[in-house]
Symmetry: C2
Subunit: 294 residues, 2 copies
């Protein structure tokens, strides 16, 4: 088997593991009856790329940490991500009727239920952390710190979202700063928690974070490109949406935005060189993020 | 000094302590610049009755627990309460332009910022729990359990809010159930955490919870009465608001609703009889809740 094939197989396996675990988590934690339970389950279980949880598991793989140990931690940034998408789509934010080809949550369940579902998911994510750390065999004394990390990321998401809605960016640097606070912050959390179980050195931890920060930005730049070039039936939303926000394509055009994404992904991968061939799968993953077409 | 006077002085002192601590907490945790920081500070620091944090401190007083130990824990239900009021007032929920005589948060900061402020406050409340338990000298092994308690209360708030918005109650029992899930759940959490530091027996814990549950309902019933009879300049919202919801006054009329509130407050106080005169201040507090006029 060639190295690339092994990487592809590993990523597909982890993706399947994440989907199974998400279903189990929802059954355990979102089992309530009524509109709110249904709305939360749909927000979390509707099809997604699962980039963040796979990132956690692959960061753990740098240290040969069993993905089963990390799966609880891996889901938490995904739950936050799902909640943030519900808010993004609201009439007062992007006013998006569709999300990946399906009615967005407020269209399906009403605005109040959508807002409350996001709120409730956020709480559930926080409350899942103690058990997730225990499963990862990360010492309990790290809990308060991990809780603060999670909180800082949520604060960063909210602040960057406000700036994004204000269309406050007029340069690429400003736009990078906004998206570093959104996609970037969740990617850094996801990768950092995966590495944490392997007891990284300070330098290694910084390398993983640099990787995740750059990859998160690359991911967002490609998102903006696909919003313009993508086929609606693949993207599940009308091409050209997010018109109220400033995008990387607005500031750079499609060709330069693609180049930026490639550069960011290369910078990301370069940060992992100190791990040698242990980082091969993670680097392949980064390549996949910028070559995706949906 | 008479017993009633002592109780009044104690409550005023605790109330002042709560206001000081809220200001310090906001300075430490909500200090960010920009719209979001300002919105969060206003949501938390605008004038309020501080019933929940005072309840925590008074429940601790049953065991002579120093209020300074409990103040961090006492603030957490208040932060959740503040966030839930922001959501309550949104156009998709009560559509309330005013809150206690001031523009509601979405009127002052825009709807997106208000929703994100509530979301961010919720996260901050969760992340404050480890330090608050440590200050209360409650063992760290209780953290995961306290986190789950907090999460269950938030879930209860969200579910009851959905039912309330659906105007799902047609009997007093159904309406009591909804408000037991909202005001009641937060009151039970607030009082339960106060008692926790005193290492209550199972029977004592149940008594404190019964007290808080009944007092929470009494509080809500009086709220509904004041919405009809209250003077707008005191209440800070137009009398007769909350028209989309079913209220205790709708189902009972004003006179019977007042009687219900008094009965609930008496049931609440009766639950504390096993504490003897240690519960005097807490009973006076309950009396104040149902005789308030704003």
């Amino acid at each position: 088997m060639q190295p690339m094939d092994r990487a592809t197989a590993v990523m597909a396996g982890l993706r399947a593991k994440v989907d199974t675990a998400l279903g189990q988590w929802a059954a355990a934690h979102l089992s309530g009856e009524g509109v709110l339970g249904a709305a939360m389950r749909e927000a979390l279980l509707s099809p997604g790329k699962r980039v963040r949880p796979v990132l956690t598991l692959l960061a753990g793989e740098l240290y040969r940490v069993d993905p089963d140990r990390l799966i609880g931690l891996a889901l938490i940034p995904e739950v936050i991500h799902a909640a943030s998408l519900v808010l993004d789509d609201l009439p007062s934010m992007d006013d998006a009727p569709l999300r990946r080809g399906r009615p967005s949550l407020h269209m399906a369940y009403g605005e109040a239920a959508a807002i409350l579902a996001a709120f409730d998911l956020l709480s559930r994510a926080h409350a899942s952390l103690p058990a997730a750390l225990e499963r990862a065999r990360i010492p309990r004394r790290r809990l308060a710190e991990a809780q603060l990390e999670l909180d800082r990321v949520i604060d960063s998401l909210c602040r960057a979202q406000v700036r994004d809605l204000e269309a406050a960016a007029s340069t690429v640097e400003e736009l990078e700063e906004i998206h570093a606070g959104k996609t970037g912050a969740l990617f850094v959390l996801a990768a950092g928690w995966g590495a944490l179980a392997g007891r990284p050195t300070g330098v290694e931890r910084q390398a993983v974070e640099a990787f995740a920060r750059n990859l998160g930005l690359a991911f967002q730049v490609i998102d903006d490109v696909l919003d313009v070039t993508g086929r609606p039936q693949r993207l599940g939303k009308p091409a050209g949406k997010d018109a109220g926000r400033v995008t990387f394509v607005d500031l750079l055009g499609v060709a330069a935005a693609r180049r930026l994404a490639r550069d960011l992904a290369e910078t990301a991968s370069g940060a992992l060189d100190l791990f040698g061939d242990r980082a091969d799968t993670l680097k392949r993953f980064a390549e996949g993020v910028v070559t995706r077409d949906a």
